[in-house]
């Protein structure tokens, strides 16, 4: 019964996404041509991968703000490691980032610090390290070797290697969060930290996993995109966080943790992509893009908060008499 109300929620979000899509599809032929759809999918790869990771930390009741800087650092490392080959370089970078993320998670749990505060520090520090490692210069894949990165722009119908990577990552994360103990633990600690602890969930593991995956996905995004472009700048990806968070929120990941789904993240992601791409493709000035994304996000989170409050009141009214009553905050 609740399962259906959950899918109703997702359907609502899907509806929002389709409306945005249709509005632009009426004006832009590239919204339905195969090549156009492929381009739309490609445009979602960067923020999509990052959003998957951010979603995991949000579901765990935490927040990783450092993803943009880490993606930049990963890009630098990937290009530096390019001589060992495209895929080895990506794998190494992803592993390094996962380790960094796990360490972040471990520290956050160990110190017991608010993760938003902690990752504001690492957000600054990772960017600095990216600048240091790169010698403050854009790193280039030697132009004569750039053909080796062509494997990343291969196409299969409307999919490219990159967008396949996004969907593969989404599918894996989806399966992980849905069908594995470790994934469900992330939901559990986000939905009730002390309840989960009392039930015997080891809090440290899901926190470390969430941050490790978040960092690994940010690293994957940074590495893929930088290698594809054949260059990496230490200053890049600084506006990534907003889009990733927006995708999560529009997709129904709760700010309070414990709720949301990977399907929702994809819906939120494409909602944002359709909007931003569409506005830009119409040749609208930057301020229009900026206002539209900001306002959409504000409207969604405010509406959601109001809706949640109302639903909470409704549930309370419907519930049978209960002895434990808390003073509403």
């Amino acid at each position: 019964m609740k399962v259906s109300s959950r899918s109703a929620d997702l359907l609502g979000r899907l509806g929002l996404m389709l409306i945005v899509y249709l509005v632009f599809a009426l004006h832009l032929p590239s919204y339905y041509s195969p090549a156009g759809v492929a381009a739309l999918l490609d445009s979602a790869v960067l923020s999509g991968l990052v959003a998957l990771g951010v979603a995991l930390t949000m579901i765990a009741g935490e927040m990783d703000l450092s993803v943009g800087s880490l993606a930049a650092l990963a890009g630098i490392l990937a290009v530096k490691l390019f001589p060992i080959g495209v895929f080895p370089s990506i794998i190494v970078v992803v592993l390094v980032c996962a380790a960094i993320g796990a360490l972040q998670g471990w520290l956050i749990h160990r110190i017991g610090i608010n993760s938003m505060i902690f990752t504001v520090g690492t957000l600054i520090a990772f960017r600095g390290i990216a600048l240091l490692v790169s010698g403050e210069k854009t790193q280039l894949v030697p132009l004569e070797d750039i053909a080796a990165t062509d494997i990343l722009i291969g196409k299969f119908g409307i999919f490219s290697v990159l967008s396949l990577a996004l969907f593969a990552a989404a599918a894996l994360i989806f399966a992980f969060t849905r069908w594995t103990l470790w994934g469900r633990e992330i939901f559990a600690i986000g939905g009730g930290r002390s309840e989960s602890r009392a039930a015997g969930v080891p809090i440290r593991r899901p926190i470390m996993i969430a941050f490790a995956l978040s960092a690994a996905l940010a690293g994957l995004a940074g590495a893929l995109l930088s290698l594809k472009a054949g260059s990496a700048s230490p200053l890049s990806y600084d506006s990534l966080l907003l889009e990733a968070v927006a995708a999560c929120l529009i997709g129904g990941i709760s700010l309070k943790g414990g709720k949301g789904s990977i399907v929702g993240v994809l819906i939120g992601l494409f909602c944002i992509r359709f909007l931003v791409t569409g506005i830009a493709a119409l040749g609208a000035p930057f301020w229009a893009q900026s206002l539209a994304t900001g306002l959409l996000l504000i409207i969604v989170i405010v509406a959601e908060a109001i809706f949640a409050a109302a639903a909470g009141r409704f549930r309370l009214a419907m519930r049978r008499p209960a002895p434990i009553i808390k003073v509403p905050a």
């Binding site: 609740k2 469900r184 559990a188 989960s196 009392a198 969930v201 002895p323």
Partner: protein
């Protein structure tokens, strides 16, 4: 099976457990009894790995074990149903059943979990609940039953149930009893914490009583009667703690007429007079607190009317009730009673900022006069006025939480558990101050699960059981035994 010896535990300077011993055999149900605050939950939390013990040893099946976290405890074969619910609302029922259970495998699909969970849900009588349903849609009773299903799903050698039936109706209680019996029959050592006499006599083989953080040797249940058990729990009385009762009372100030709200199963009618202290006696979940919360504007009144000083009174928020000179002090001091990181004067002036400020600026002179006034009225040592409230002892924190309300010169003071976590000395002082306030015309209504306090402090006592008011009696005509009977087993008292 289980032997806990010399377990001691302090919270700050308060000693909650002192050299407590507990021993349970396989296949037996050990009832753990004691008044509120006796330390029952603390003891089982130590066994469950939620809280560390300061000292003491735990042996399971003859082997000494160290339990530093819930995981250790689980590994040692202990399963635990907490007094405070530990259900994660955003997970499904089936997932809650297997929450924290690593034996269920790394891979789990909602469907397989649901199939696995069904038999356990069946055992606790939740056959009508879809295992895929989100736990947030369950009633509190259903959630409690899910927890018990979780306990059943663990192949535990030792099962702990901390007040599992506080939220349940009689039919549901039957299910729990059945589940507990099955556990014991299968050779599990069961520790059963409860306040309900009937359950003790029906289920347990032995009883261990905790009183003021100390344990007493266990007693065979068969050798006990309700009366002797109550005597064990209450122990020696401390009558000198309480001030004399009211000498004169004024007109009716607060009236409830057929009021019902969330947490109450039957409408309540009450009338409280000026200068009177009314106790609402009841266990956690009995509905006593609901009455206070309706008056405070925290809990909406579903039907019925309330009157204050003869006029209709329907507060929608705490701010409303404060404006009507009704002050409310909840039972969770840490959560919403004090500002732990702020100084005592700032705490004391918080509800009465307009009385200590002029032209929107706080006047230090007025504020210091204000806080000193309260401190003197409520016996707070002036030396504490420079401290942070969080650094005070429990007793003084409670005085701050209560005393701050004097600043608004209220007509009615509503207090939940006026002396929770407060030790004996400070307790007596708080009683004395409440009484002297009543003598100056204040109406005090407090909810308490502490029999002595109810009996010693109040003029009138309303007893509550399971969402219903049992009766209103004068304190003079009551005895500890009659109160305990009313609040834990009214049918026996009838």
């Amino acid at each position: 099976m289980l032997r806990m010896t010399n377990i001691s535990k302090r919270y700050g300077a308060t000693e909650v457990l002192r050299e407590v011993a507990l021993e349970v055999r396989s296949g037996e149900v050990m009832a753990l009894m004691g008044e509120n605050g006796a330390g029952k939950s603390t003891l089982v939390k130590i066994l469950a790995g939620i809280e560390p013990a300061d000292a003491g040893t735990i042996e399971i099946a003859g082997e000494p074990v160290t339990i530093r976290s819930p995981r250790h405890s689980q590994a040692a074969g202990v399963a635990y149903v907490a007094q405070e619910l530990s259900i994660v609302e955003s997970l499904s029922v089936a997932e809650n059943v297997f929450l924290g259970d690593t034996d269920a495998g790394l891979f789990r699909s909602p469907r397989s979990l649901s199939t696995k969970a069904r038999p356990f849900l069946l055992k606790v009588g939740l056959e009508q609940v879809d295992p895929l349903e989100l736990a947030e849609n369950l009633s509190v009773a259903e959630r409690q039953l899910v927890e018990i299903a979780r306990l059943l799903s663990r192949k535990a050698r030792i099962a702990i149930l901390d007040e599992p039936t506080a939220a349940l109706s009689d039919a549901e209680i039957l299910r729990v009893k059945g589940a507990v019996r099955t556990l014991a029959d299968n050779g599990c050592a069961v520790i059963y914490v409860t306040h309900r006499m009937a359950e003790v006599f029906e289920l347990s083989t032995r009883v261990t009583v905790l009183r003021n953080g100390r344990s007493f040797p266990s007693i065979e249940t068969a050798s006990l009667t309700v009366d002797t058990l109550i005597e064990h729990m209450l122990g020696r009385k401390l009558e000198q703690m309480f001030p004399a009762r009211a000498t004169r009372m004024g007109e009716s100030v607060v009236e409830l007429d057929q009021c019902i709200g969330h947490g109450l199963l039957a409408p309540i009618s009450l009338s409280v007079r000026r200068g009177e202290i009314l106790a609402l006696a009841g266990q956690v979940g009995s509905g006593a607190n609901a009455v206070l919360r309706m008056l405070a504007g925290v809990l909406p009144v579903a039907s019925g009317t309330m009157k204050l000083r003869g006029a209709a009174f329907a507060p929608h928020s705490i701010a409303d009730s404060i404006a009507a000179k009704v002050a409310y002090c909840s039972d969770d001091r840490k959560r919403d009673g004090i500002f732990a990181v702020r100084s005592v004067p700032e705490n004391l002036s918080a509800p009465a900022l307009d009385r200590v400020s002029r032209l929107q600026m706080i006047s230090p002179v007025m504020e210091s006069r204000h806080t000193r006034g309260i401190a003197e009225l409520f016996g707070i040592d002036l030396a504490y006025l420079t401290r942070l409230a969080g650094n005070l002892s429990g007793g003084n924190q409670q005085k701050v939480a209560l005393g701050k309300w004097l600043g608004i010169e209220p007509d009615v003071l509503l207090v939940e558990e006026p002396t929770r976590g407060v030790d004996v000395g400070a307790r007596a002082e708080i009683y004395r101050h409440l009484r002297s306030l009543a003598e100056r015309g204040l109406t005090v209504i407090f909810a308490s699960s502490d029999t002595q306090e109810v009996l010693g402090l109040a003029d009138q006592i309303a007893t509550f059981y399971h969402g219903r008011m049992v009766r209103v009696v004068s304190a003079e005509s009551s005895t500890p035994e009659s109160i305990v009977r009313d609040v834990i087993h009214p049918t026996l008292a009838a």
